[in-house]
């Protein structure tokens, strides 16, 4: 395996609130290689956005506490002083946010906002930076880039604004782009365009992408590896094919089952996972998915480690069920769904 670009080990993030300590991220490990797309999937509140923002130190604050390591080029970003971390932010690791409607400052022209990022990290003139901004806007597919550069965010559509956000993220040719739900706020047709754009630019700029989403359909299209997060921890991780064709966690089965499928007969009701995610203040003992899991048994009260339990080498999960039980239960579940249909 090649030297990883980014390595996260035992990351924990806790926030002190009035109601108690929220364990927003409770043990996340992963590695990211150059040129790869890592998909992080999970429900709202599973800790995926907090994980992403923590990589850039954006969750730092008086009431936040951290544990673990975030190794990038031999340095630990988690404990790096703010002033040095600023050189990494936007320069070597850039971020694209969920809602392009609110993520750009409404009172500045888009060109100004891109130029501002470029001159922060490089000693070039504003004129050169502006020329580069125009090139970037062209690369992300904005027509009339040299005119559009002088528009304000409210004059652009949502898809165009997300393209601007991508141009902004790529402005300093970063090694890693973190895209936090980049297509959630967009129309379905625009979603596909933005994902294709992101994937092309990744290849062109030779950067790695962390794609955060709650939509398995989104990661299915461009991710190489997938992490499934639940209640602040990784519950299953592996290459995309493994995860889609041999999912080990009942939670992953639930996620896969809740995607509407065109290739299956139409069901009365779309499958959903019953219950809601546990409180991150008083999480259940043992497996965090236990209260919602239809296949729970006595061993689930014990804490499951994230281990390789199948033959495939990079496929990790946190489920106590034996391999035979998993296969059987999964096939039964699928068979039942087919018969309901």
């Amino acid at each position: 395996m090649a030297e990883p670009l980014l390595e996260v080990k035992g990351l924990k993030v806790r926030f002190a609130t009035e109601d108690g300590i929220v364990r927003a991220v409770d043990g996340v490990d992963f590695q990211l290689e150059r040129g790869k797309v890592l998909g992080i999937v999970g429900e709202s509140g599973s800790g995926k956005s907090v994980t992403a923002m923590t990589l850039l130190g954006l969750t730092r604050g008086q009431n936040a506490a951290f544990e673990g390591e975030v190794i990038y080029k031999g340095q630990d970003l988690l404990w790096m002083p703010e002033s040095r971390l600023r050189d990494v932010r936007g320069n070597e690791i850039a971020m694209i946010f969920q809602d392009p409607m609110t993520s750009l400052n409404p009172v500045y022209r888009i060109g100004y906002q891109i130029v501002e990022a470029i001159v922060e990290h490089e000693s070039i003139s504003k004129k050169q930076a502006k020329r580069r901004a125009i090139d970037l806007l062209k690369q992300v597919g904005i027509p009339n880039a040299s005119e559009r550069i002088d528009t304000y965010p409210h004059e652009l559509s949502g898809g165009m604004r997300q393209r601007v956000m991508i141009a902004l993220a790529l402005s300093s040719n970063p090694d890693i782009v973190i895209a936090d739900e980049p297509t959630t706020a967009l129309d379905v047709t625009i979603q596909a365009q933005i994902l294709a754009l992101l994937d092309n630019l990744r290849a062109e700029f030779d950067s790695a992408v962390i794609l955060i989403t709650h939509d398995l359909g989104v990661v299915a299209s461009i991710a190489h590896d997938i992490l499934v997060m639940y209640a602040g921890r990784v519950v299953e991780a592996g290459p995309k094919r493994e995860l889609f064709y041999d999912p080990q966690m009942p939670y992953t089965w639930g996620l896969l089952g809740s995607i509407p499928r065109l290739d299956r007969p139409k069901q009365e009701k779309l499958h959903s996972i019953t219950g809601s995610p546990p409180s991150l203040i008083n999480a259940p003992r043992g497996c965090k998915f236990r209260p919602r899991c239809p296949h729970v048994f006595d061993r689930c009260i014990e804490e499951p480690e994230l281990l390789n339990r199948v033959q495939a080498p990079d496929h990790l999960d946190r489920c106590w069920l034996s391999l035979d039980d998993k296969r059987r239960l999964r096939d039964e579940t699928i068979a039942r769904e087919a018969s309901i249909a």
């Binding site: 850039l56 954006l58 600023r86 050189d87 990494v88 932010r89 936007g90 320069n91 850039a94 971020m95 946010f97 809602d99 609110t102 993520s103 750009l104 400052n105 409404p106 009172v107 500045y108 501002e116 990022a117 922060e120 990290h121 304000y152 409210h154 004059e155 956000m165 902004l168």
Partner: protein, 327 residues
């Protein structure tokens, strides 16, 4: 732009009409408001009052009186000496109202412009500091100080300051009220105005600081501020370029209207406490004497500033917030 100015001018005329009419109607309806009996002095003969009524036109229907008064007001706006015109004159002193207001303008302008600069600067400073250190000791200390500032009425604070800093000491730090023209003696001008500036601005500093603090705390949670941080910008740049700029938009409206109000004679208390013979002081004198023409004059003068500055704000807004800009 042309249409905007025309619309604003029409609006201004409408506002001035409504304001002047209301002032007029209220005045003739209040008890003791009859100018003739006041002008006739103590224990007048009924005949005297009737004569005065006739002479001044108080026997005419009220709308005729209103129109006459507006005509006289308009005459008063003609520049130069008003000898040959029938202008708006005080019932009590027969002085030309327009001239009296003009005489008060230098003192009022000096007070208001100076105080406005002080309160805008310190209000912003207080807001920024307490937002940046929100929840910590410096925020609480400043917030408490601002609350004390807001809670001190000008007539009390002004008198206390005047007493302890100007009247009581043998070697007083400040002159005991009054106004010296800027062109006559700039040093004395400032020396006379320091206490009034302080008194007038302290209230606004506290208020603006509170408003700006809460605006900034809201803006700090905006997504675009997170974007600015994720770009790697330094904290100062994020604060000044991204947070403050967006937080100042509501402050601009407040400022323009408050500034217009004090400029238009709203600093009545400060001017009275410190014997600054400005427009506000003149207004106070006239209200005390139930003297309609000066009240009318000062009211219209004040209404003019309010409408004028709200138009300026609208233009300034366009610069501050491009979303308002017509495409």
């Amino acid at each position: 732009m042309g249409a905007f100015i025309v619309r604003r001018l029409l609006g201004m005329i409408a506002v001035m009409f409504v304001v002047s009419f209301l002032v007029f109607v209220i005045f003739i309806k209040i008890p003791g408001g009859d100018p003739a009996s006041r002008m006739a002095g103590k224990n007048p003969l009924p005949q005297n009052i009737t004569n005065i009524r006739k002479q001044w036109g108080f026997d005419k229907p009220f709308y005729v009186q209103y129109v006459r008064m507006m005509q006289k007001t308009a005459n008063g706006l003609v520049p130069g000496k008003h000898g040959q015109y029938d202008v708006l004159r005080s019932f009590d002193t027969r002085q030309d109202v327009a001239h009296e207001i003009k005489r008060g303008i230098p003192a009022t302008m000096s007070l208001c412009i100076g105080a406005a600069i002080i309160w805008l600067f310190f209000g912003t400073l207080v807001g920024v500091i307490s937002a940046v250190f929100a929840g910590r000791f410096s925020d609480r200390a400043i917030t408490t100080a601002a609350l004390i500032g807001v809670s001190m009425p000008v007539f009390w604070l002004g008198l206390v300051l005047r007493f302890f800093l100007a009247e009581k000491p043998n070697d007083p730090l400040f002159p005991d009220g009054g106004y010296v023209g800027l062109t006559d003696n700039p040093v004395e001008w400032a020396h006379h105005l320091i206490l009034p500036w302080f008194c007038l601005s302290i209230l606004f500093i506290g208020f603006y600081g509170r408003v700006l603090r809460s605006n900034m705390l809201d803006v700090m949670n905006e997504d675009y501020v997170r974007t600015a941080k994720a770009k790697g910008l330094g904290p100062k740049r994020v604060l000044l370029k991204h947070v403050l700029r967006n937080s100042m938009i509501p402050i601009v409206t407040l400022f323009a209207l408050d500034f217009a109000a004090v400029l238009g004679g709203g600093a009545i208390l400060t001017e009275t406490v410190f014997d600054l013979k400005g427009v506000g002081w003149y207004a106070a004198q006239s209200v005390g004497g139930l003297d309609l023409p000066p009240i009318m004059g000062v009211t219209l003068y004040g209404a003019f500033f309010i409408v004028f500055f709200s138009a300026i704000v609208d233009i300034f807004y366009v610069w501050l917030d491009p979303r308002i800009r017509p495409s």
